[in-house]
Structure formats: structure tokens, C-alpha cells
């Protein structure tokens, strides 16, 4: 798994590539926490290059969403979610907790 962060004027774009499972999810959680610690609560998670995500990754996203939405200070949105990952997110009832966008441009533009 690879994570890169790009700062925009109104939000941060966090790009996650590869596979997120119980072994790698802590790195994703850490990246999201680091953004929050830096006062960034408007986050776009770009999943375009993501091949796989287990519920360990869902947990990291949920924790971040809770923290970002606190005091209405922001939110986590998802961009370019691959079909199979979207299916499992739906199965877990997670698509109701996150706005999703077809591409990063419209996700970044949301903020």
C-alpha cells in the first residue's frame, strides 16, 4: 500500500494505492490522523489505484469520518471508488456514511 497527500486550498487529497488489509490499515489510519492533527478535516480519499480493501480499511475510514465531522468542521469523501470495493462498502452499509464522487476533481470541488 502507498499513501500520498496533496494539500489544496480547501481540502487535502489523500491518495491510497495498492491493498488495504489488517496489516496495512494502520498506515491509512495514521495518515488520516496526521491530517486531523494538522487541523485538516476536509479530506478526499482518492481510491483510483486501490486494488483491495478489507473491513480493517473500512474501520480506519469510519474513525476518520467521526473525527472530521465533529463540530461540523469537515468530512471525509471518497473519490474514484473501484467497483468491487464499492460493492463491499455497500454491503457493509458504508456508502451511506460517505459521499462518493466519480473523480478527484469533482470531490475536491465539493469543498
Amino acid at each position: 500500500m502507498e499513501i500520498s497527500v496533496q494539500e489544496f486550498k480547501h481540502c487535502d487529497l489523500i491518495t491510497v494505492k495498492g491493498r488495504v488489509d489488517s496489516a496495512t490499515a494502520p498506515q491509512l489510519a495514521q495518515a488520516l490522523e496526521t491530517a486531523n492533527e494538522g487541523g485538516k478535516y476536509k479530506l478526499v480519499v482518492n481510491m483510483e489505484g486501490l486494488e483491495y480493501m478489507s473491513s480493517a480499511g473500512f474501520r480506519a475510514l469510519l474513525a476518520a469520518q467521526r473525527n472530521c465531522k465533529k463540530y461540523n468542521r469537515g468530512e471525509v469523501v471518497l473519490a474514484s471508488v473501484p467497483a468491487r470495493i464499492r460493492e463491499s462498502l455497500e454491503l457493509a452499509g458504508f456508502t451511506e456514511l460517505f459521499k462518493t464522487f466519480d473523480d478527484t476533481l469533482s470531490a475536491v470541488g465539493h469543498f
Binding site: 488489509d21 496489516a23 469510519l62
Partner: protein, 137 residues
């Protein structure tokens, strides 16, 4: 059935997914089905590593997998703490963000993704056996 023993550590989840994925692919499952079989196996293995072998460093996870007549069977055997899956609460998927509980999501996904999930604790033989079954197409 092919059987492989893995060290019960998260860093072997990649290999576990590859092991079941290769067998599913040879067995004629579609890429979508293969993804779901890999996800269910990952959730099962992750639960065993996290809970059955909590605090154990040298746990062994034995996984057997095979396809027969268009049906894939995955059997995970561990020698850790047993648990009763019936006691794991079903997550409330309608709960809002603040109320959403994350526990039990792995088991929930396993049950949704596979056709059958069976769990059997054999305390006398110090082992737990989790069997998952999925039919092709």
C-alpha cells in the same frame, strides 16, 4: 484440497488471499467472485489472528482450500481461543455515524459473501474449525 500452514500474523494475509484466489481462479470462478472469496477469507483469517490468537506470538493458521463440482470450500483451523459466532451481534447497518459499531463487521461480510459459513469449536482437540462454502455463478 490443498492445505497450507501460515504463521498467524497480519503480514501473511496477502499470501492467504493469493492461495485461495489461485484455487478459485483455476476452479472457474469469475474475477468478482474471486475478489469476494478473497475478502471473506481475509476477514476470517484476520478475526482468528486478532481474537483467537490475541496475545499469542507463534500461532499457526492452517488453511485448506479446494473446488469440486463448482463449489469452493475453505477450511480454516486454529488452535487459539474459541468463540461463538452466534454471540457476535449483527452490525446495525442503518445506524448513523455516531452510533455505528464496527465490531462484527468481518463476520457479517463473511456471511454475506459466502453461501455457507460454519464454525465448530473442538476444545478436547484444542482446535477451532471455520468452514466457508461458495457455489460458482
Amino acid at each position: 484440497m490443498q492445505t497450507v500452514q501460515f504463521a498467524a500474523k497480519f503480514e501473511f494475509l496477502d499470501e492467504i488471499r493469493e492461495f485461495v484466489g489461485d484455487i478459485a481462479r483455476k476452479g472457474g470462478f469469475t474475477e468478482r467472485e474471486i475478489y469476494n472469496i478473497q475478502l471473506a477469507s481475509d476477514e476470517a483469517a484476520s478475526n482468528i489472528i486478532e481474537h483467537a490468537y490475541e496475545g499469542v506470538n507463534d500461532g499457526v493458521l492452517e488453511i485448506s482450500c479446494g473446488v469440486k463440482n463448482g463449489v469452493i470450500t475453505i477450511v480454516l483451523v486454529d488452535h487459539g481461543q474459541s468463540f461463538d459466532p452466534a454471540e457476535v451481534p449483527v452490525p446495525d447497518l442503518k445506524a448513523d455515524l455516531a452510533e455505528r459499531k464496527i465490531g462484527g463487521l468481518g463476520i457479517f461480510l463473511m456471511r454475506k459473501l459466502m453461501d455457507e459459513v460454519h464454525y465448530r469449536a473442538e476444545p478436547k482437540r484444542n482446535r477451532n474449525i471455520l468452514t466457508m462454502i461458495k457455489r460458482r455463478g
